[in-house]
Each structure stands twice: as C-alpha cells, then as structure tokens.
Symmetry: C2
Subunit: 356 residues, 2 copies
C-alpha cells in the first residue's frame, strides 16, 4: 500500500491555539487536542499519512516549544525528522525549511504536504486522492493542490477555480485562480459552481520544482533557507537558523508561490474534509442528538436545541438555550452563539476585567 | 438602640439549595452563600437583627445537617439558641418549634420572625420598621406582617391586600386578604394598587397569641409541638423530636395560620427588599455595568449585554450574548436566559446524560 520510496511527507504542526479557546491555548494548540476521541488531530494525521509513507519518510514541522508534545504524540518519529521552527513564520517558511532539509536526504524526492489539524475520517479516499496527486507528478512537472467540493457557502475559506483538464489525469484540472475569503454573495455562487473547490492546504510537488519557485518568487526567503541549509549540523547552525528564520517574511505558501504559479493542478478530494476552524465545526464532525445538540461531557439541557456543549470538567446544564456554544476547559469558560464562533480569537485580545 | 428585653428573634435558616444551582446545593443552601460580599446572607441577617436584640435572644432554626455551618457563620450564638430541625417541614413547624422552646425561656415574650436568605441593605429602615411592628403589639393583640411596596409585577410572590387603618399606628393597616402567586395580568394590577404589598415573610406577635392560633387552627401540629416541648432535655427528647417532627404537616405559617386569621396587621417596610429568588435577582442587588451586565469574577464580554455572569473559579468569556445567565461553581455550570431563571430547579430533577 505504501507508495514509492522517493515520496516524502511534510506535516505542518505549527499553528496557534486561538480558535478553540478555552480548550486550545498557546500551551496546547488545536493539533495536539483529543477533540473527538482518544487520539489527537496530529496523531490522527500521522496515522493517515502512514498509509502512504513510513514514518521514516515523514517530516514534522512545528514550533520548538511543542517538540516534547510532538515526541510524546508520535513516539516513533525519528529524531532528525522533527523540524523545530524557532518562531512561527507561516507556511512558506515552514515548507521551505522542510524542503532544504529533505534535499539533504534524497536527490530528487516528491514532497506531500499536510496540515496536522484537519478532520479527514475516510482514510481510503484520502489515500486514493494522494496517489492520483503522485500520478500527476510522474507525468507533469506541476504543483498539485487538493480541492474539496464545497458543501456550504463558507466565507472563511480559500477557493480554487479550476480550468482546463490535465492531460492523462481524468478529473484533474489546471487551476485558473485562487480566491481568498469571498463575500457571502460570492461564496453562495462559488459553492454552487462545479469548477470551484475549497483549498484544503494539501499539496504535492517535486522538491526541485518548489525550490526553483522559492528562488524565483521569494528570493529573500530562499537565500535565508540556503544559509540555514549550508550551516545545518555545524557549530553555528542553531544560531543561523534562529537569526535567519526570525527575518523571514510571514507569508503563506499559497500567497507566496501558488497564486503566482501558472502550472498548479487541482486533484479533487475523494473524502469529506473539515478544517475544524471553530467550535461550530463540532456539529459537522460529531453526531448531534435528537434536539440538534452536539455534546461532549456530562450535560442536561431542558428546552435547549442546536447547541454545542463541550465540558469534561464538571456537569453543564442549560435551560431554554438555542444555538449557543458552551465550552468548559481548565483555562476558562466560553459562551457564544454558534454564528459568532469564528470570532472567538477576538476574546483573547480583549483586556480582562476583574469584579466582585 | 436594642429593644425591650421581652423581645426575641427567630431566624429561619432552613430552605434548600435549588434556585441558585450550581452555587447553592443541598450541602450549601443559599443562606450560607457569600453571594454579594464577604459575609453570607445568614451572617448579614444576624448582624441586621443584632441591631434589635442581642444574640442571646435570637433563635436560629435550621436543619441539623447545617448545624456546623451555622455555628461557623454565627460563632457567638449560644449553643441552646440553635434549634435543629430533624427534617424540613416548612415554616409552620419551624416557627412552632421555636415558639415552644421560647416559652421555656420567657413567660410572655414578643417573637420577631425573619427569613435568613433575603437581601435588606438598609439596616436603619429595617430597624424603624420592626420597632413599629413592636409598637403595634404593645397596643393590639395582633399578628403583624411586614409588607413591601411592589416595584414590578412579580408573579412568583405572595401579595397582601390591606384594608382599614390600625388605631394609633399611622400607616399600619389590617390585612383584608392574602393572594399567592397571581397571574401576570393580576400581578400588573396588584403592583399598581397602593393598598397592595409583597409578603416578605417577616412577622411579629406575642408568643402566647401565636400559640393560641396553633392550638385552634393546626391542632395536630400543636399536639406534636407540645409533646416535643414536654420531653425536651429528657432522655427520650431527641427521639420524640425526630418522630413528631417527621409526622408534622409540611405547611407554611402563612397558609396554616395567617390566611385564616382575622387580625393580621400590615406594617409597611421602610426598606428596599429582595427575596433573591433566582439568579436574575443579582441585577437588582448588584450594580450592572454600562452594558447592563452584572458581573462577579473574571469576565470578558464582547458585544454582550444584560447578562448575569457569576464565576469565581476561572475566566468566563462571552461573545454576542444577550440576556443570559452564566454561572460557574464547583458543582457545575449553568447557562440559561434570564427570563427562565425561576425554572433552574427543574434542571436538578432531570436525569444526567453522559456523552463522549
């Protein structure tokens, strides 16, 4: 089942802890949480990717402060495959760092890129999709992205508009353009359009190809990556990594490279996907009860419906509550209407008042 | 300032812990809570009553399981002034028990009765009111109740309709009738009517008078009280107390005696009063902030207004929440619209579901 041995996976385990406050925090971002079962999102991702490549060919990229968490959650990850970012610099820097380290390992590998914090339950559909992406790369020197068929007019996502078919790869199309976070009206049109897909942040390319793009489209970042690569493992390596990384632009790979590249191919996802962008995502991933409530923990609700209830600390009880999120976690308690779930991170920037 | 030495006070510290769940519980009913400051409602009540009579002339009546709590909160209460109910049998039994014990202490005392769990901040107005009640009793062999001027059409209270003036006691009137928990439409009319008042559960009478009424109107209960009195302090006293008390009717003194008595006088309360009947009472007793939120604890609210927030355990944060009660306490978390606050006790009878 494992694909050919020039294929490597890069799992992006960076990312902060704001959207699932108070459960996720800076100390414990979303990818490390056991939101839906016994295994964390990171562990679920690693297990899914294991169906494609062995753990020896996985690179996990994450902030150095999370290295102990990553080692605990993926105990058989080879030590040298844990890529510690000295600071969070978004996906271009994270993927670039993985790319220069991968080049030290293999002369001409294929790189698959996966976010660590998304929900993909259908492992067979996932594997089928990634094998198609790899097949495209065997015929075309392209950048491949995975597009998810929209199921609702989501305004918080990036959309991909597909164009001409890719020769020899049925269902795969060249990307015409990328659209970030559309208006509500536009999202309604995009979600209906069969040529449109959500950008799931899952990519595939030859390492050589993405390195040429870094050099051409992000030359400053590329120069810093080369200095890191050339000093890696040497006496001043850690200092150069920290210094150069801190000076890199904080830009997503989508924005820095994909949107400026003419040869991006979109493989349609053969699996249901959720980015778990906020607490309201729970009702798409867990099964609501008869009254539409999604419940984790001890709960009594009277005349309460369409709520998201999450609390493993103590009983939560509601009366006459409709469409509200209630979360109890060691760091605090959140209560807000489901429609406002996207804004939860705003709460973490507000000053705290103390009263009695 | 202390009134004459034939005046005794009975403070009713029974009552369960349902309406302020999850802060109040069976282990810690409302009267023992420090809801609004450093002192519990019971301690506040004792301090208020201390302005009328010394603690040596106060009887505290409460369930025997709460005796340690009462002793801790009122450390200078003489041991023999703590009247322990073997079970909760409502106010007729509680006041009757205090009455027969008081008769062993003084041949012809006046008895003042106070609930332990109401909010009365104006101690001078309280003292003025009770001195007027005592003055009425010096001239008339009546039962006195204190009536509170309604400030809203409350449907959960008992109302008093006043009639003819009491001779020699300006502002005091004979009670025409009692009305329990009126309909909304009737409550609106009653609240506007200057002859109507809320029944605050604060009473005054000669002990001999109330004992004659017990004998006439509640003869079974009175016979049991006499058996308890006659065996008090003897070898079988505790057993007789437990047995007789368990067999008493669970009836309020209002219903058992006052509503059937023709000579009840109403003294108007010269103080603002709140029975703290539910969480929504907090907004009447504490000062709301600019957005109408009443807050106890660490709280951040964005676009949140008219909420009641109570949590001293960990930060509570809300977003886009209007008119909702959020309470965090060691025993659980409550979330419900303010309009449903009266129904909180229903939650405690609902079965708990556990999910994960």
């Amino acid at each position: 089942m494992i694909v050919m041995d020039d294929v490597y996976a890069v799992i992006l385990a960076g990312g902060g802890g704001e959207r699932f406050w108070p459960l996720s925090t800076d100390r414990l971002p979303k990818q490390f949480l056991t939101l839906f079962g016994p295994r964390s999102l990171l562990t679920e991702t690693v297990e899914r990717v294991r169906s494609l490549v062995p753990v020896e060919r996985m690179f996990l990229v994450g902030g150095s402060r999370y290295a102990p968490l990553i080692r605990r959650q993926v105990p058989d990850l080879p030590r040298e495959n844990l890529v510690q970012e000295p600071a969070g610099r978004d996906t271009a820097a994270a993927i670039g760092l993985a790319s220069v380290l991968l080049a030290r390992r293999h002369p001409d590998p294929l790189m698959l890129v996966f976010p660590a914090d998304h929900a993909i339950a259908d492992v067979r559909g996932f594997r089928r999709t990634m094998r198609r992406a790899i097949a495209v790369l065997r015929r075309h020197d392209a950048l491949v992205t995975v597009g998810v068929r929209p199921t609702r007019p989501e305004t918080g996502y990036g959309y991909i508009v597909a164009g001409e078919p890719v020769a020899g790869a049925p269902g795969v199309r060249w990307v015409r353009r990328f659209l970030e976070k559309p208006s509500r009206a536009r999202a309604v049109r995009l979600a209906r359009d069969p040529r449109c897909a959500w950008n799931a942040g899952i990519f595939a390319w030859r390492n050589r190809t993405i390195q040429r793009r870094f050099a051409a489209l992000m030359p400053d970042l590329w120069a810093r990556l080369c200095r890191i690569r050339d000093s890696w493992g040497q006496r001043d390596g850690a200092g150069i990594l920290a210094r150069e990384f801190a000076r890199m632009a904080k830009i997503s790979l989508d924005y820095g490279i994909l949107e400026k590249s003419p040869d991006v191919a979109m493989v349609p996802a053969a699996f249901p996907w959720d980015d778990l962008g906020s607490w309201s995502a729970l009702e798409r991933v867990l099964r609501p009860d008869r009254t539409g409530n999604v419940v984790v923990g001890d709960y009594v609700g009277l005349e309460s419906a369409d709520c998201v209830i999450y609390g493993t600390e103590k009983p939560i009880r509601t009366l006459g509550l409709k469409g509200v999120i209630v979360v109890d976690a060691p760091d605090g308690i959140l209560v807000c209407p489901k429609a406002r779930a996207q804004e939860v991170k705003r709460l973490l920037r507000a000053p705290v008042r103390r009263r009695r």
